[in-house]
Amino acid sequence: MVKRIIILCVLMLSIIGISCVNAASPQITAIKWGVNSGNNLRIVLDCTQLTSAKAELTDGALTITVNGKLTPTISRRYSIASSTVKSMNLVAKGDKTILILPLKRPVKSSEYKLFVLRSNSGANRPDRVVLDIVNGGLNDGAQKNSIAASCIVPTYTVTGGIRGKHITLDPGHGGSDPGAHGLVTGVQEKSITLPVAQKVKALLENKGVIVSMTRTTDVDVWGSDATDVQELQARVDVAEKNKADLFISVHCNANTNRAIGGFSTYYNPKTPYDEKLADFIQNRLLKTGNFRDLGTRSANLYVNKHSSMPGVLVELLFLSNEREEKLLRSNWFQNKMAQAIADGIEDFYKQNGGVS
């Protein structure tokens, strides 16, 4: 018995990893369920690839929405002999499949758990979505307050080198929002972030990257009457729609103290990669000349927080600093900064076991 538990646990631990791959649309190829001696129910959906699912407790039923189509051979109705769930009905809805589980008794949110398991070739198991309903709860206090559980599988990829990656570049500000301005010439931030981002685009494309831009001209991304949130979310949406592997926002800093200068790179540590990416880009930026290192900082910036893929927001020098304003306006230094950003991104992929 003890041996069995150990083997089971080691197996389970080994198949949990960071899952970052996605290609064609996922399909559900088989559905299994079982009840153990403790009367706990487990439902397993075999899938062609890792996918996401969410669970919701509604009136007398638990509903699971899986991002994946049913293969035609799968039965749509199951009667289930468990203490909590009576039956299971499957409904196809577009690319999604909805599992409806009518409940025999009210189930608390702490009593069920939805998660994904990565394929295990050793055990001949495919990628799976798993629902556990455990009588009396999962001993997880933190979960009791949540009414919905979800399991999101990231769609970005960090391995395999830079070639073929999708990267979204976001030239900060634009249109009705000029951003900061240079104190000597009055140059606007939006008219520096755009050419720098376009230069980064060209350099990345040379490295085999598929680049999408939140804007390519002097415009608001959402529209001139947008709220701050709408405008920033519109930029995140570009990255999400393009299933970007990275999101890079380009800005210039400014301050009332004209002596302040230097580079800083902000990130939000929402994935294991944001901070690393920030470090690689910041290191390259510092090599462009003799500038102050303001460091990489975890900051709760909207675009970094709300995008699902690793990303950073770079602050390229200070427009309020006379020397830096001059450099920011010059074509050759814009090229230098763009090269640093592109190289930093390449460094990031090299460090992640990729070959480029």
């Binding site: 080691v10 389970m12 998660f115 800093n253 900082r297 975890s298 900051a299 709760n300 909207y302």
Partner: protein, 189 residues
């Protein structure tokens, strides 16, 4: 021996459960730490005062991006320490020339309400004044958050302006309460 045999797999199972929980949960679960340590801070002058040593995270004048701790002793009523500390940060100047107050001119602390581990801070409208560049915004917000989270009963800080939620300040997202940010504090070597 028998006990040890059972203990190891039990530990592994527990570890595994932890893994599942941390891997797949949405991060929206409300903060439930220290429900007992709730204190409402309002203008109430009849409480006995105590001397309290506080730390204010100030913005440096040298243009680096680390907050500098200024220690101060203040006289404060037992339950008013959060409000008094924040007022000291926002409405006074630092004693040291290496530090500065970068809150927009006229910014006032209208109130601090600590409940369930979250300090809800209410600033006057000046706090949200448009400033150019991200430096001042991130330093100012993190100064507030790191100063208040020195108290164990404050885990997170929600910022309101004139009693209203602000979703975005500059590029910063202020929709949800913010946690202490150690990346703005220089590590002692």
């Amino acid at each position: 021996m028998q006990i040890r045999k059972k203990l190891i797999p039990t530990l592994i199972v527990m570890l595994f459960c932890l893994f599942l929980v941390s891997g797949c949960e949405p991060t929206v679960s409300p903060n439930t730490t220290n429900p007992s340590a709730s204190s409402t801070v309002k203008n109430n002058n009849v409480k006995p005062t105590v001397d309290k040593k506080i730390v204010l995270y100030r913005v440096p004048t040298d243009g680096t991006q680390y907050l500098l701790p200024e220690t101060k002793s203040i006289k404060v009523a037992e339950n008013d320490f959060a409000l008094a500390t924040l007022k000291a940060l926002v409405e006074t100047l630092p004693n040291d020339k290496t530090m500065q107050n970068i809150f927009p001119k006229g910014t006032k602390v209208l109130g601090v309400d600590v409940k369930n581990g979250i300090a809800v801070v209410n600033f006057s409208k000046e706090f949200a004044a448009k400033t150019e560049g991200e430096y001042a915004t991130v330093m100012m917000v993190n100064a507030v958050v790191n100063t208040l989270t020195q108290y164990p009963e404050i885990k997170k800080v929600r910022i309101l302006v004139e009693g209203r939620k602000i979703e975005v300040l500059g590029q910063m997202d202020l929709e949800e309460p913010l946690s202490r940010n150690e990346t703005f504090i220089k590590k002692a070597k």
